[in-house]
């Protein structure tokens, strides 16, 4: 089933931007998924090695939940949203919206989405889905990672909305409110690109932005110390591929998605330089994909010795240099 209460479901690359694009489409303000992602300046990089994590990891996008914030800021679209202390009140608020025919986005723990195959279920509190309707006590959920709308029982959805841990959703939900009659897309695109360039280049934190890519390149060489066995290290190497390609990134750690945004932006702004940079971003994505394939192959062969790690590290370092230059160019084009 692909439609419920007038809401039309589509498969998407990334849960959060796809959820927002779906809600906007339903509200009569169609923005593509790459446009939502790009205007919110959601491309990013961060390398994390904390005690909260069983193994060092990285992210290639901004913090979950921020896309809505920056779309509100840059496009003046209102997304009324709130968090809850009591699950009962959260469910009642969701039901009230659905009764009015308004689909709502909710933040959930991905682990409880029981319609996904067991092997891909993992605890991650930053997942977003759209609840399109409710029939006979069952919610119909539009999840960007599924081809069709999926049923989810009320108790499971409540558990997913009130999971604890990092990025705990606390029942967070939002819907589309007021959409300005004339969206100033051009200005929003400029601000979105400036935002992304700032966060990639100027954050004075050594594990975020381009510095984060360099940190990954450096720390990769230390990964054998973190892993208890060659098997574990090989598995973590394969997880690089999963993080870059399979976890709702649109390929190459969101770089292809961002290249698509830049191409659309070049058309809107009529800037040829932006189209050239879109091509460079696509090539940059190809190089990230080469990294993910290299990591997956070495992981599969259990060929994770120092030479291979050094090779991988050099490939990642080259991406840091390329992205530093790319975002500097982007900042100049929209200055």
């Amino acid at each position: 089933m692909n439609s419920e209460a007038g809401f039309c479901h589509r498969l998407g690359a990334h849960c959060e931007s796809s959820t927002i694009a779906g809600l906007l489409r339903h509200a009569g303000a169609p923005l593509s998924e790459p446009m939502v992602f790009g205007i919110a300046g959601a491309i990013f990089f961060g390398y994390f090695d904390t005690r909260m994590l069983p193994f060092p990891t990285f992210t290639a996008r901004s913090q979950p939940g921020k896309i809505r914030d920056y779309l509100t800021k840059y496009l003046r679209i209102e997304f009324p949203g709130r968090r809850f202390r009591h699950p009962g009140k959260a469910s009642a608020a969701l039901d009230a919206l659905l009764a009015r025919g308004t689909p709502a986005a909710v933040q959930v723990d991905f682990f409880y989405m029981d319609y996904v195959p067991p092997y891909s279920r993992a605890h991650f509190n930053g997942h977003f889905v759209t609840v399109a309707g409710k029939r006979d006590g069952v919610y119909w959920v539009s999840d960007a990672y599924c081809a069709e709308l999926k049923p989810l029982d009320a108790a499971t959805l409540e558990r997913a909305r009130f999971a604890r841990g990092s990025f705990a959703p606390r029942g967070f939900m939002y819907h589309v409110g007021k959409v300005p009659a004339n969206l100033d897309i051009e200005k929003a695109i400029r601000r979105g690109i400036k935002h992304a360039a700032f966060f990639m280049l100027r954050l004075p934190i050594p594990f975020l932005g381009v510095a984060g890519i360099r940190r990954l390149a450096k720390k990769l060489l230390d990964w054998p110390r973190h892993a208890v066995s060659v098997d574990r290290l090989a598995h973590e190497m394969m997880m690089i591929h999963v993080m870059l390609e399979d976890r709702g990134t649109g390929g190459a750690g969101f770089r292809y998605l961002y290249a698509t945004f830049l191409q659309e932006a070049a058309g809107v702004l009529g800037k040829q330089e932006l189209a050239c940079l879109a091509r460079e971003m696509m090539e940059n994505g190809d190089a990230w994909r080469a990294i993910s394939l290299f990591a997956a192959r070495t992981g599969k062969k259990r060929d994770v010795g120092p030479d291979r790690l050094e090779e991988l590290s050099a490939m990642v370092r080259a991406r840091a240099d390329a992205e530093e230059r790319l975002f500097q160019e982007l900042a100049k084009v929209v200055a």
Binding site: L11, L53, Y112, H123, A168, H241, Y256, T260
Partner: protein, 156 residues
């Protein structure tokens, strides 16, 4: 990435953004490269982790909490936050002797995070026959599940 390079034949579908023949960029629905090429290795790794942890569990070296924590790839800090206890207290629960003293509400909190019935914290369900499948169905009683061994053919 060119559209033809992105095409993968697999049942696990996802969206990738690619360059089309006309030079424009856009989404395509395709199979997962990881799932198509490396899934067997991924499963083998999970199985080897599970087997080594199960050995420790059955030998009384770790508690079922430690077993599931490793199985799901959770850190101590994350699991402690999810069950709403301190890391210090969680570490005690990782030891079999402390696990035996846990009360039912605490076990329920763990079971909810692990996504298993409470009963599974005290038993290991396995099947040696590839034609047998074990299923667990919830009941109205949150403490009781119905476990069934069902036979199925490989063609199903």
């Amino acid at each position: 990435m060119k559209e033809e390079d992105a095409r993968v034949d697999d049942d696990y579908q996802l969206v990738l953004y690619v360059e089309r023949d006309d030079g424009t960029y856009g989404p395509i629905q395709t199979g997962s490269y990881m799932k198509a090429h490396y899934f067997a290795d991924y499963l083998a790794h999970r199985r080897s982790v599970q087997e080594s942890e199960l050995e420790k569990l059955c030998a009384g070296g770790i508690s079922p909490i430690a077993y599931y924590m490793t199985w799901l790839g959770l850190s101590e800090g994350d699991l402690a936050a999810r069950v709403r206890i301190s890391v210090r207290r969680l570490r005690k629960h990782l030891r079999p002797e402390c696990f035996a003293a846990l009360d039912l509400p605490m076990l329920q909190r763990y079971a909810e995070v692990f996504g298993v019935p409470v009963a599974n914290l005290f038993q290991v369900l396995t099947s040696d026959s590839p034609e047998m499948r074990l299923t667990q169905a919830k009941t109205a009683n949150p403490l009781v599940v119905v476990t069934r061994a069902e036979s199925f053919s490989a063609h199903e």
